[in-house]
C-alpha cells in the first residue's frame, strides 16, 4: 500500500480497486446498529483544515471515528495558524503529538506534498488549491461502479470549471487508470492548456455540451463560482447556465441508464437545475454516503489496518 494519498495519480489500478473493494466492505458497517470497527483503535488522525469545508471534514471525521481512531480537528481559524505559524511549524507540532495520519485541506496547491516532507505519518490530501482532491475521485468512482456495475469502458463527461477544479484533475487521473474515458466540457476559458498531455492521454475536450450528452454513461457537473465572470471567464451567470448548465431538456438527451453526479455544494440554477439535481438519475446524496465508506477504506489501508 502507498504511504500517502496526495494525487489520483498515486494509485495504480490494483490499489484503486483494493480501496473501492474495501470501501464496499466498510459500507456494510454503516448498515449495522453499531457503526463502529476497532481497526484503528489507539491511532490518531488529525484533520488539518486551512479552508472551511464542513462536509469534507465531517466525512473524514465520521470515517475515522467509525474505525475507532482518535480524531483531532485542527482548524486554521482561531488557531496558531492565524497567528502566522508556518505550515512547517504546524507539521512539527502534529508530529510531536504523534499523528498517525494528517488529513489536510489547504488553499495552496501542493501544500499536502510539502507537509508529507515534514511528518512521519500518512498525509491524505483532502483538497489542495486548484490541484487535486483524490478521495472525492475515489468516492465518485465508487458511486459509478455501484450504479453502473463497472468502470472500465465507461464514458464520463466532466462539465464546468475544469481550470480551477481539483475534483476534475483527480477524476481524470483515477478514471483513466481504471479504464474509463473522460471528456472535459466547458467554455474554452475554463479548460486548462494542454490538459490531455498534462493529465492523461486519451482525455477529450469539448466546448459543446449538447453534442456530448447522448454518448455518455456519466455526466459530472462541477461547481462554478459566479465570481468567475468578474475575471471574464464567461460573460454572465445566465449565459453560463444557458450554454453549460444541466437542465431538464438537456438531461433528456442522456442515454436512459446515464447518471448525473455533482461533488457539492451545488449552485442550483447555475450549473444544475433543481429538476436534475432531484431526479432519479442524480447520485448526489449517494456520493455523500459513499464518501464516508471510501474515506474509511483509505484511512484503514494507509494506516496498515489490514496488517494488524
Amino acid at each position: 500500500m502507498i504511504k500517502h494519498l496526495l494525487s489520483g495519480g498515486d494509485l495504480d489500478a490494483d490499489t484503486a480497486t483494493e480501496i473501492l473493494d474495501t470501501a464496499a466492505e466498510m459500507a456494510t458497517v454503516a448498515g449495522r446498529e453499531i457503526k463502529k470497527l476497532p481497526a484503528l483503535r489507539g491511532r490518531t488522525v488529525v484533520n488539518l483544515f486551512y479552508e472551511d469545508s464542513t462536509r469534507t471534514r465531517i466525512s473524514f471525521e465520521a470515517a475515522a471515528k467509525r474505525l475507532s481512531a482518535d480524531v483531532i480537528n485542527f482548524s486554521a481559524k482561531g488557531s496558531s495558524v492565524t497567528k502566522g505559524e508556518s505550515l512547517k511549524d504546524t507539521a512539527l507540532t502534529l508530529q510531536a503529538m504523534g499523528a498517525d495520519a494528517v488529513v489536510v485541506r489547504h488553499p495552496a496547491s501542493g501544500a499536502p506534498h510539502r507537509l508529507a516532507n515534514w511528518v512521519d505519518g500518512s498525509v491524505v490530501n483532502a483538497g489542495d488549491g486548484t490541484h487535486e482532491h483524490p478521495t472525492q475521485a475515489l468516492l465518485d468512482a465508487y458511486t459509478m461502479r455501484s450504479r453502473l456495475g463497472r468502470l472500465a469502458g465507461l464514458s464520463v463527461a466532466v462539465v464546468g470549471d475544469v481550470l480551477h477544479s481539483r475534483v476534475a484533475r483527480s477524476n481524470v487521473l483515477l478514471l483513466t487508470t481504471l479504464g474509463a474515458k473522460v471528456t472535459l466540457v466547458g467554455p474554452p476559458t475554463l479548460i486548462p492548456v494542454d490538459i490531455a498531455g498534462a493529465l492523461a492521454p486519451g482525455t477529450d475536450v469539448s466546448y459543446d455540451l449538447d453534442s456530448v450528452l447522448p454518448n455518455v454513461d456519466v455526466v459530472m457537473m462541477l461547481r462554478v463560482q459566479r465570481e468567475r465572470m468578474n475575471d471574464s471567464y464567461f460573460p454572465s451567470a445566465r449565459e453560463y447556465a444557458r450554454r453549460y448548465g444541466l437542465d431538464g431538456p438537456r438531461m433528456r438527451r442522456l442515454p436512459e441508464h446515464a447518471i448525473v453526479m455533482h461533488p457539492g455544494p451545488m449552485n442550483r440554477g447555475m450549473e444544475i437545475t433543481p429538476e436534475v439535481a432531484d431526479s432519479r438519475r442524480s447520485t448526489i446524496v449517494e456520493q455523500v454516503t459513499n464518501g464516508v465508506s471510501v474515506r474509511m477504506a483509505v484511512l484503514y489501508l494507509l494506516l496498515g489496518g489490514n496488517n494488524r
Binding site: G129, E227, R228
Partner: protein, 199 residues
Amino acid sequence: MTAYLITSVSVVGAAPTDLLIRDGVVAEVGPGLSAPDATVVDGAGLVALPGLVDLHTHLREPGREDAETVESGSRAAALGGYTAVCAMANTSPVADTAGVVEQVWRLGREAGLVDVQPIGAVTVGLAGERLAELGAMADSAARVRIFSDDGHCVADPKLMRRALEYVKAFDGIIAQHAEEPRLTEAPRCTRVRSPPGSA
C-alpha cells in the same frame, strides 16, 4: 602592494603563459616571467578570464540584511569569479533616490570585494506610476546608468516611453522586467496571500 605572478595560465583559452600583476594592473604577460618579490600562483591547467560582471544581482541591503548584505553578496560574487555586480533597486527603502544608491555604492566600496554598481529604480517606489529622479541618481557619486524596476514590469506604455527617452540625456539604459501583469495575476476568486515584493 603585493605582486602576484600567475604561471602557465591560459588567458581566455590561449596557450599557457605567465601573468604578472603589480600595482593594480597587469604588468606583464609572456612566458618565463620572473619576479622575486611576487607571490606565485601555479596556473598550470587553469584559465584566466577578465573578471566576471553581473548585470543583475539582488544584494537585499538595505532592508533584508537577514537574507543578504552588500558584504555577503560581494563575497559570494568574488567566489563566483566576479569583479563587478550591478545591484538591483528593489531594496527597502527602494533605490529610487540619490541617497539610497549612494548608500549601496558606499557599502560596496567598504566591503571592497567587487565593484558594486547600483541600479536605480525607474519609478518611485517601483510603483509604476511616476518617474523616480533618474538624473539625480545619474549625477550622484554612484553614477547610475542602468535603471530598472526589476521584480515589477514598467507596464504603462507611456511611462516606459518617457523613461526610455529621458535617460538618453545621460546615456542611460532601461532594463525591463518583461511581464504583462494582467496576464500573470492570480484569478480574483482564487487569490491566495500574496507575498510582498518579488524576485
